[in-house]
Symmetry: C2
Subunit: 340 residues, 2 copies
DNA sequence: TTGTATGCGTTATCAT
DNA sequence: ATGATAACGCATACAA
């Protein structure tokens, strides 16, 4: 057996109009639920629609309205994002949910190569989408720049440090980091270190600042290890360094659960108990946190809401509303488990 | 500061034609790299294109050609898939890569509600996409049925048990399961159990059959625990049951790494060493495998290739080629680590 | 090799 | 409240 292509001719508005005994204009009006349609005409049209099995042709509609009824989601570095970022899935679901409610289609634009980057840039300027959502852009992001210059409706999830004038939604990383560090301190720790990452984004900077604020005078810059990636291996390397610099360390704040898991591995390796000898806290409340031994105390991010709010911002812009670009910050919650 | 909407009028083929001093037809020809265009005309057109900053309007093109140059990826159960399935990210990347090469746009259609399901079904019949790829459909999947009836170009990643006539690409679950079970047996184990899942798909059935085939006469149906989900908790529950039924068990094949990790947790809890007392093997070669203590011996899936081949099948159908629907099976590899 | 004319299926404008 | 009719921007068959 072999596969075949689509066939059957599709019904058009003309067919519907003919069956309903009205004009195309009237059909179009009921399709777009406009006013000024008689009940008789309306029911005749809806009957005809189901009778001929009409479904509207989007290409023609997009051409006529100059809108695509689609919103793009730009996904950079898909490898690290899809395989490492614990929140991306929930963010995507939140976006889809909001868009779905408004009958917009989500189009995922994944950038996995230089070629993709060009294609997507062209895609965005080509009218394929009415708006765009960008997740975790880095500084000097070329696509983000294109979007800013184009003036297309857009929103960021997470805020790139070098782009202004585009609304964004994120969490208050500073307060969250400060809160969990404070809680860690309150378990009686005296020498607390941090493994910081992603300093090329606001989020990374703010987590570090929150840590520092929580410690106040007790803050020791030597006890802060910085690393580019939020990866498991970064946690391992970071903890080794920390142990070198301060053998008497008794508390660690890792800026991600993945890194915190690495910290745990090193601690087990050198025979220090958790939370007995050392208290460890993470960030994200990802699968890493529940999987770890012991399960991690960490910061929960409202990932789904992050996506939903970003989508709603784009939708509002599309409706012509004026949107504040100051940034929306969603509440986080501390989840206290057994690692501290 | 406030955000604004798109503005600037876009250049059309007419503008290009005017600047280049040729007709629209000629411009269209060089755009589609057809033959019968003089070098002079071609270079004049390309110059004009960059001069006026022309980018083609897809809606108009789609309307004229009656094609969308887009392929949909239907993603069901996004929660479990994005949050649990270790391979979905790589599959998506493989699809995108193949589509990108052919200048097709990937459109992710996520189904997260009844409403989504209807929208997507309509979307598919509405000419928004030329083809569709469906990942891990279950039996009685409504979307899969719509696709089958529509006769639209399509391919499955993984094979739903009740749909015929649509090409699919997957791995040889039977052989893979048989191979890793055999290898586990060869480490000297005598009482080997299995935790099976996803029996509503070919993949789940085949893994169980492979396990049985590897054991031959030593196969004991009492040592096979079946569970619907490939989840971590399923592994925990399954291992407890197994321990009840066969306290002398010394080997376990879990049908996913997530479940194998659960097995490990239970074993640690009851004080049995791995791989000393019990040898454990998983399936997927996901992050679970490397994160586990000890790291899991498991079956590696060529996830990226899975996606790529499915996309290529759809592309071939779109070119009008006849495609075999017998199923394509990709090679797996055993990754031997420390858990057995 | 190139230009012209027509059609793709909607929406939107203007009469009626 | 409804019906004609003109865009929308491109591809393409046909003529030249």
């Amino acid at each position: 057996m072999t596969a075949r292509r689509a066939a059957s001719a599709r019904a058009t508005i003309n067919d519907v109009a003919a069956v309903a005994g009205v004009s195309r204009g009237t059909v179009s009006r009921v399709l777009n639920s406009e006013a000024y349609v008689s009940d008789a005409a309306r029911s005749a049209v809806t009957d005809a629609i189901s009778k001929v099995g009409y479904v509207r042709n989007s290409a023609a509609r997009n051409l006529a309205t100059r809108q695509s009824h689609a919103v793009g989601l730009v996904v950079h570095e898909p490898h690290s994002l899809f395989l490492e970022d614990p929140n991306i899935g929930s963010i995507l679901l939140g976006i889809n949910s909001a868009l779905s409610d408004a009958d917009y289609q989500l189009v995922s634009l994944v950038i996995d190569s230089e070629r993709d980057s060009h294609r997507v840039a062209e895609y965005l300027s080509g009218g394929f989408v009415d708006g765009v959502i960008i997740v975790s852009a880095r500084a000097h992001d070329p696509i983000a720049k294109v979007v800013a210059e184009l003036g297309i409706a857009a929103a960021f999830v997470g805020h790139p440090v070098d782009i202004e004038g585009i609304p964004y939604v994120g969490i208050d990383n500073f307060s969250a980091a400060k809160a969990i560090t404070t809680k860690l301190k309150e378990t009686g720790r005296r020498r607390i270190g941090m493994i910081a990452a992603g300093l090329d984004r606001d989020s990374g900077q703010d987590r570090m600042a929150g840590f520092r604020a929580a410690l106040g005078d007790a803050f020791d810059p030597d006890l802060v290890i910085t690393t580019p990636l939020y990866a498991h291996t970064s946690g391992i390397d970071g903890m080794r360094l920390l142990l070198d610099r301060a053998p008497d360390i008794d508390g660690v704040f890792a800026a991600s659960d993945a890194m915190a898991a690495g910290v745990l591995d090193v601690l087990r390796e050198v025979g220090r108990s958790v939370p007995g000898d050392v208290g460890v806290v993470g960030f994200d409340d990802s699968a890493w946190a529940t999987r770890a031994q012991p399960p991690l105390s960490t910061v929960h991010q409202p990932a789904g809401q992050l996506g939903r709010r970003a989508a709603e911002s784009v939708l509002a812009q599309l409706r012509g509303e004026t949107v504040d670009t100051a940034g929306i910050f969603l509440e986080t919650a501390i989840v206290w488990r057994d690692s501290a």
